[in-house]
């Protein structure tokens, strides 16, 4: 048997796959066969390597050389130059903002070095489909410990010491949930993993399920043992087919290895897991709606109390945790609750995974200690804002959250600090926006979302959010008045007080938050029919400045609606009636002749 000389890790997280990972891998493997290297170079597909903007990513070991944006052409070059001839290919190395090349950015740049990985420790490191690799990284050791050495009380004590709080959004102390469902009377009991990650801009649960599904399987099994359940469900949204596939494989392997099924690890404990797939309803992320959906009903929330811990699935005691919460638990039990609570600050202990998206240089997933400041996260780790633009706001908490403006960037990221700023930590999605984004437009965007996703059960949410959206639509076309702003505030307060579930109670939050920090922007829309960010379509025009246009026709060719007319080498014009303000022409003009104006 030939000895493996190199191992090539290819990031097969969802983002890298959508950037072309499959053809990269195919090209690499073809070349390796051509050079008869396929016996000595092992190619492994891993979970998410965290840096989405650099994908597809390829890392060659033992050197640890990190290649970015590896197209199939690049893969062929790397096979020939690096793997056959032993020469590092500079063209695909990581380049810092200053322009120097980094061979091992994972050990050199803040995006990677500032991370402390607990829930995401195996992502990008192991082959998620290979249970042996998970075991080699201490996988299923915690389960073994719980089955052989620890009592249920001790497990809950460790969770209490860890101070872990739910990572799905509400931040409820995890040990309490476990304790309530353990003490609840009723049989059978159930463990449910909430994998219905739906907050726009959050994708850590997806990455964990795709990159380390066994961590969730292991933690759910531990939960089953502790609360006395024999059945578990993972409720995963249908938008994540890859996560569902990999989780299915993990469950099958775990059964083969005796980590799921009857008499786990030869103990008297039995537990098994089934996946239930959603069908496109955001509200199913709410726990009582999720339970209804598993029961084959419309996913509408129920009034709480009673809580799922006592009256959950089929009315039985049910423990419900989110994916990231579960993924932390094996490590907490192996290393101790105190180890985990050393990270973070009072009230917000441990590490948290954040998803960086929007107008930020380094997009992707970062796991850092709680209490890290927004500035550190966005600028040091995230690399700041592209194109020399100014940061305007960071949106957190999805449709239940709000926008944090530039002047609050020194806020430490904790549950309490973000609540004080009128938003929530939520599931950890951070959408970064720059000066070109209009905050009224963002508020309207989220209201559209809520109107779409409201289950329709209670009036404040179903009709109230619709009315709020109508007012925001009036404002964004320049027909709003100050009375509308007052009405928006008042209606928002009513909806928050009277809605049935968390989705409705927080639905006005994006409006309340942007009004708090960007009131002037609302006033400009109302008083001057002006959108300062030049984003609102009806208040903005795209114009071609005659003195600068050379008639190159680039803009006319790229316009998707043919709103631009003009012949070659002559001035072009835009018909505002047809123009959709999509901005495609702005990007292609090399003569700085096109600009947005409002009004």
């Amino acid at each position: 048997m030939p000895v493996v000389e190199s191992t090539v890790l290819i990031c097969a997280g969802g983002a890298c796959i959508s950037a072309g990972e499959k053809s990269t891998k195919q090209a690499l493997e073809e070349k390796l066969r051509e050079y008869a290297l396929d016996g000595v170079v092992r190619v492994v597909e891993t979970g998410c390597m965290a840096a989405c903007d650099l994908g597809p990513i390829v890392v060659v070991y033992p050197e640890g050389v990190f290649y970015q944006k590896v197209t199939s052409e690049a893969a062929r070059t790397i096979a020939e130059e690096h793997l056959l001839k032993g020469r590092v290919v500079d063209d695909y190395l990581y380049k810092s903002a200053e322009g120097d090349l980094r061979r091992r950015p994972q050990e050199e740049i803040p995006f990677f070095t500032k991370q402390v990985k607990v829930a995401t420790r195996n992502l990008g490191v192991i082959d998620p489909l290979d249970i042996d690799e998970y075991i080699a990284r201490d996988g299923y050791f915690a389960l073994n410990k719980v089955l052989t050495e620890m009592t249920a009380d001790e497990v809950i004590k460790q969770l209490k010491e860890s101070a872990l709080r739910g990572r799905g959004g509400a931040g409820f102390p995890t040990h309490l949930k476990w304790d309530f469902s353990r003490k609840a009377e009723g049989n059978p009991k159930y463990v449910i993993c909430n994998a219905d990650e739906g907050d726009p801009g959050a994708f850590m649960d997806r990455a964990i399920l795709e990159g380390d599904p066994h961590s969730v399987v292991e933690a759910m099994t531990i939960a089953g043992k502790v609360i006395g359940a024999e059945r578990g469900y993972v409720y995963c949204r249908a938008e994540y087919p890859l996560a569902i596939d990999r989780l299915n494989t993990a469950i099958e392997r775990a059964r083969e290895y005796g980590f799921l099924g009857e008499n786990i690890m030869d103990s008297s404990f039995s537990f098994d897991i089934e996946i239930r797939i959603g069908a496109g309803a955001f509200v199913c992320g709410e726990e009582t709606a999720l339970i209804n959906s598993i029961e084959g009903k419309r996913g509408i929330p129920k009034v709480k109390p009673p809580f799922p811990a006592t009256n959950g699935l089929w009315g039985k005691p049910t423990l419900l945790n989110n994916v990231e919460t579960f993924a932390n638990i094996p490590q907490i039990l192996l290393k101790g609750g105190k180890w985990f609570s050393r990270f973070g600050v009072e009230g917000s202990r441990g590490t948290k995974v954040f998803a960086l998206a929007g107008k930020i240089n380094n997009t992707g997933l970062v796991e850092v200690p709680m209490g890290t400041s927004l500035r550190e996260l966005i600028f040091d780790i995230g690399g700041g804002i592209p194109g020399g633009k100014q940061l305007k706001a960071v949106q957190t908490g999805g449709p239940s959250g709000g926008c944090i403006p530039l002047e609050h960037m020194d806020t430490p990221i904790t549950y309490d600090a973000l609540t004080e700023l009128g938003t929530i930590l939520g599931s950890g999605g951070m959408v970064v926006m720059d000066e070109d984004d209009c905050m009224v437009d963002v508020a309207k965007f989220f209201l559209e979302f809520t109107v779409d996703e409201s289950c329709g059960q209670c009036t404040p949410c179903r009709d109230g959010t619709r009315q709020m959206l109508n007012m925001l639509e009036k404002i964004t076309v320049g027909e709003g008045s100050e009375e509308d702003l007052e009405a928006l505030k008042e209606l928002g307060e009513h909806i928050m007080k009277t809605s049935l579930c968390g989705l409705g109670q927080t639905a006005p939050q994006p409006v309340v938050s942007t009004m708090r920090f960007f009131w002037e922007e609302y006033l400009a829309h109302v008083h001057e029919s002006k959108c300062p960010a030049k984003r609102c379509k009806s208040l903005t025009r795209i114009v071609i400045r005659e003195e600068k246009c050379v008639g190159c026709t680039a803009c006319a060719r790229v316009c998707p609606v043919d709103a631009i007319s003009g012949v070659i080498k002559e001035k072009h014009t835009i018909d505002p009636e047809i123009c959709t303000r999509c901005g495609a022409c702005l990007e292609v003009c090399r003569f700085d002749a096109i600009s947005k104006v409002s009004p």
Partner: protein
Amino acid sequence: MMLTKEDVTKTVHDIYERVREKSFEEGDMLINALHAIQDHYGNYIPLEAAETLKELTGLPLSKIYGVMTFYTMFSNKPRGKYVIRFCKSLPCHVRRGRSVIEALKGKLGIGFTETTEDRLFTLEESSCLGLCGVSPVMMINDEAYGNLTPERVEEIVDAIVTRERSDEE
């Protein structure tokens, strides 16, 4: 393709049996069965299937319709062979998703929830696809495409059309 009631009844019976084998309890099967039926018929659930489900589950027809229409991913209208789900989420929106949508609509000649005449494509909006690091994004059936630009979506559509044409020949 015309579906006869007998065909649908038999097919749904078979699918339901398969789903039952993979279920913990009777009550949790309806949504899984609807997924399996929709996959079988190529992106839609024929209304006749609901009648068969009524007999199999003992649930009233109103309840089955209620579930089918609550979830946006189920359709009882035939959809195209390729369902394009364009992410309408905030990260896609702020990274010029709008211009990509316009280009895609222009290319296909249809708007959201519409199907092309040749029944090849249906265009839909999707809630967040969780690929925000490479926004704007869309999925075509189960495959995701990221870092989209107006040019790139046109190429992707062209590639599918070319593949379909060569399959026909």
